[in-house]
Every structure is written in C-alpha cells, then in structure tokens.
Symmetry: C2
Subunit: 281 residues, 2 copies
Amino acid sequence: MIIANDLETLQNSLLEIAKNGKKIALVPTMGALHTGHASLITQAKEMTDCVVVSIFVNPTQFGKNEDYSIYPRTFDDDVKLAQQSGAEIIYAPTVEDMYTNGFSTIISVGDMGKILCGKFRPSHFDGVATVVTKLLLRIMPHIAIFGMKDYQQLCVIERLVSDLDIPTEIVGAPIIREEDGLALSSRNRYLSPDERKIAPILYKTLQNTAHNLKSNNVSEILAKGIADLTEAGYKVEYLELCDSFTLAPLAEYEEGSRLLVAAWLGKTRLIDNMSVEENND
Amino acid sequence: MIIANDLETLQNSLLEIAKNGKKIALVPTMGALHTGHASLITQAKEMTDCVVVSIFVNPTQFGKNEDYSIYPRTFDDDVKLAQQSGAEIIYAPTVEDMYTNGFSTIISVGDMGKILCGKFRPSHFDGVATVVTKLLLRIMPHIAIFGMKDYQQLCVIERLVSDLDIPTEIVGAPIIREEDGLALSSRNRYLSPDERKIAPILYKTLQNTAHNLKSNNVSEILAKGIADLTEAGYKVEYLELCDSFTLAPLAEYEEGSRLLVAAWLGKTRLIDNMSVEENND
C-alpha cells in the first residue's frame, strides 16, 4: 500500500505501474469512507489492475456557509477500508499540493451545473469539475468510478470528460443503501438518532413517486412527494423528474427519466435519486 | 504528410508515432499561415521528432461582431508551408468534430483573461483556453509552441496548463517582424496600402515607450505613447505596462515587466508587445 501526499510521490508510483503495462482505476473520494466507497473500490479492482483512491476534501466545492470545516476526516480508518477493498495507492494531497500559487482556472459545464443542487450550491459543480479534471490529468487512469448517489455530479463529470477529450472512461456505480433504504453517505453521521429514524422516508418517497409517475400528472405527483417529505420533517430543496442524461427537467414522464431529490433533515442535507423504471431496485 | 480532418484519423496517426517512441510537438494555429507560423514549426521540429500543426478557426473565441466569417482561410497554401517547415501531420477538424452534440464546458482562467484584450473581447480567452485544452488532450504532445505576438494568450495557456496539470510543456517563441518592425499576423492582410505604411508606428511606439519608461513617470509615458499612436491614425484600446508573468498592470517600472498594446487601424485590430529590457530586439 502506497500513501502519496504529494504529486511527485504519486507520479513516481504511477510510473512504476505504467512500466508494467497495468490498467489503472481512480476512485475519487473526500474520505470518510463507508461501504458505498468500498463497493466502488471493489468494482474498480475487478475492472483494472491497480486502484488509486484519492482522498481530498476539496475546499472549492463547498459554499461559504457549508460544512467544509466540520466535514468528517477519518484518514486512518479510510486507509484500512481502502486496503481491505483492494486499493494499492492512496493519494491524499494537501490543499497546497492541489492548488499551487496563483491558481485561478475554473471549469464550468454550463446549465447542467446550475440546476438541481447547483441552484442551491451555486459554485459547487465548478469546484467539482475543476478538481476532478486535475485528478484525472494527474493520474491519467483508464477508468474512474463515481457513485450514482451523487447523480448530478456523475452527469457533470461525464459531460466534461466528453467535452474536454479527457482519455478516461467514466463508470457510474449503483447506490448502496442501508437495509431501511437510506442511501449511504458520509454525511449520514451528522444525523441524530431521531433524525436517523425519519431519514429513510426520503427513499420511500422516491419509490412512491416513481410508482405513481407512470399513470398520473407529473407536477401533482411531485407536489405530493414534497408534501409527504415536509410532513415527515424534511425541508425540501427540490424533487424533480429529469432527463437521465442532460438532467433537463421534464414536465411529462418519459422512458429513461430519473427522479432526483435534495432535502434537509435538521442541519443535515441529504440527496437521493432513482430511475423511474427501476423503482423497485 | 498526413491530413486529418477528424479525431479518429488523427488518433490513429498518433498511435503509430507513439509506438515508435517519438516525441511530439503541437503548433496550434487558425490557418492563414505566414513566416511567423513557419518559425514556430521549424523550432518545434528542432525540439521533437514529429510536428502536428492544427488548423482550426475556432468560433468560440470570436465575439458576435468580430471577423470569424471573414477570417482568411488559405488551406492549400497552409499545407504547403507547414510541410516545407517540417510538419508531418495537419489536424484540421470541422467545427462539428471539435464541438460534438451538447458541448457546454467552458474553461476560464479568471482575472488574467479579463484584463487587456479580455476587456475588449469578453469571452475570447475562455474560448482560447477551452479549445487549446481540447487540442492538448486530443494530441497529448510533449511540447506545444505559441508565438509571443499573442503574449496574453501565451500567459493564459501557461496558467491553465499549470493549473489543470496538463502534461505538456508550453514554449513561447519570439515575435517575427517585417523589416519595418510590423509584427507578422494573419490579420495584416486586412490592411489597405495606406494603412500598411502607418502600421509599423505600433512597434516604434513600443520601442520609444520602453526606452523612456526606465527614467520617467509611467502613466505620463504611456499617455504619450497613446497620443503618438492616435496622432498617427490608430484608435488605441490599451497601452499598458504589466507584470510579464501575471499580466497585472504596473504603476511603476519593474525589472521583467512588459509593454502590451492593442489598437485599431481602420477596420483592422493589431496587437503587439515588448519586454522593456529588450526594447532593442
């Protein structure tokens, strides 16, 4: 297991691997690893010869009043879980290593980054797009795997990788859920025991909404879902039906469309999403 | 000589070259090649084994009322000059090949792209940064050479290549001038015979200004330069003294600073620049 905290150590390790003609996968994370991340690493290992896990809590994707400073940092546990899951290299750069003196370049994917979560977190996806581009170009992996829990993030990254001709295949991996349906997230640990009991209603509402959508008026069904979540104690940012590729909002149900939701439970912001067809998954 | 009009043809040719372990240089151009471009290609050939010249009049770096539609296109002559100068591959993609369906990603280098020319051509450097990133990632050259006539463009590209970790070395090549000092530019062919006679005053004003700067009040000296150009028939956009790396405007002369100018002669916009120390070059 190699732990690289700077670019030079990373690239020296990668040179050795490239020499042997091995195929490399990247699993980009912000640490606070859980079973969802482990599944990404396992899948990456099945598809390639060498898995690099990056651990970097990226300041530029957090808003001013967001949880950057309190975001969970559990480095030692992260290293163990990554190793158990099959990772060979951890890349955990410092902020100074990632953003050198005078750094000023921003990548924006346009409208796709300004809707849904982008409406409530204005420069979030610019921060994501920029740091992921840097990670991909530093590591030049054959594939990079992203969880579908952050579905808009996955779409944004697929868009920018295609638009900028970055030679990496982007793979979306299924959402891993608790037994009661709550999607795994590093932020779940913010939830109080009472909130934790309410939390799975987010998933159940997605299921109900997806089930109803096929035969009913879309805006009414979405309003019903928002009402259900509000009644349970959630403060809803959005619940929308979108094209699963462009994320453009849909006023009518179409095959291949996707439901996406973001809502606050106390001080914790949760997101989830679901393919309307596969609402029983 | 290989002429590739699409990405697949280009990348098949590059694969062959990579197999042989050859070092690749890129000379990005908008065509309408002149002796200045030839010098870039010659220099690229001296530094590497295989020179790719890209010819692409990039629509996204032209403003609405700029000269995109009338920009000179001289493809057959360009191919000849590129070949004579030592290029092995011409990459001349169509707009559709470069910007596929749904393209929406924009790269911006921040303040550096908003000053000087960026003030008068608001999204110009975003267009440049984005297309150059795409060309670099499609071709993955060891080096890419840019003429210093477009000095701000060179700084913008150095910034983004460093910020995004693009694995290409950026090389700036000296300005090539006519005997009377006019910097070579594809746009010089827009000049009428009368304008052509006046044009070299741009260079002479840079020389005079650079000479005076060391011993006098900067704002006065720049104002004098603008007055000289105006009297000669130029409409000046800017004449500024800048840090040669960040391009930040300087109120006082410092070692390593650079003079940059943009001015219109009739319907032709000309730019030029000069290191204050090397004002006799």
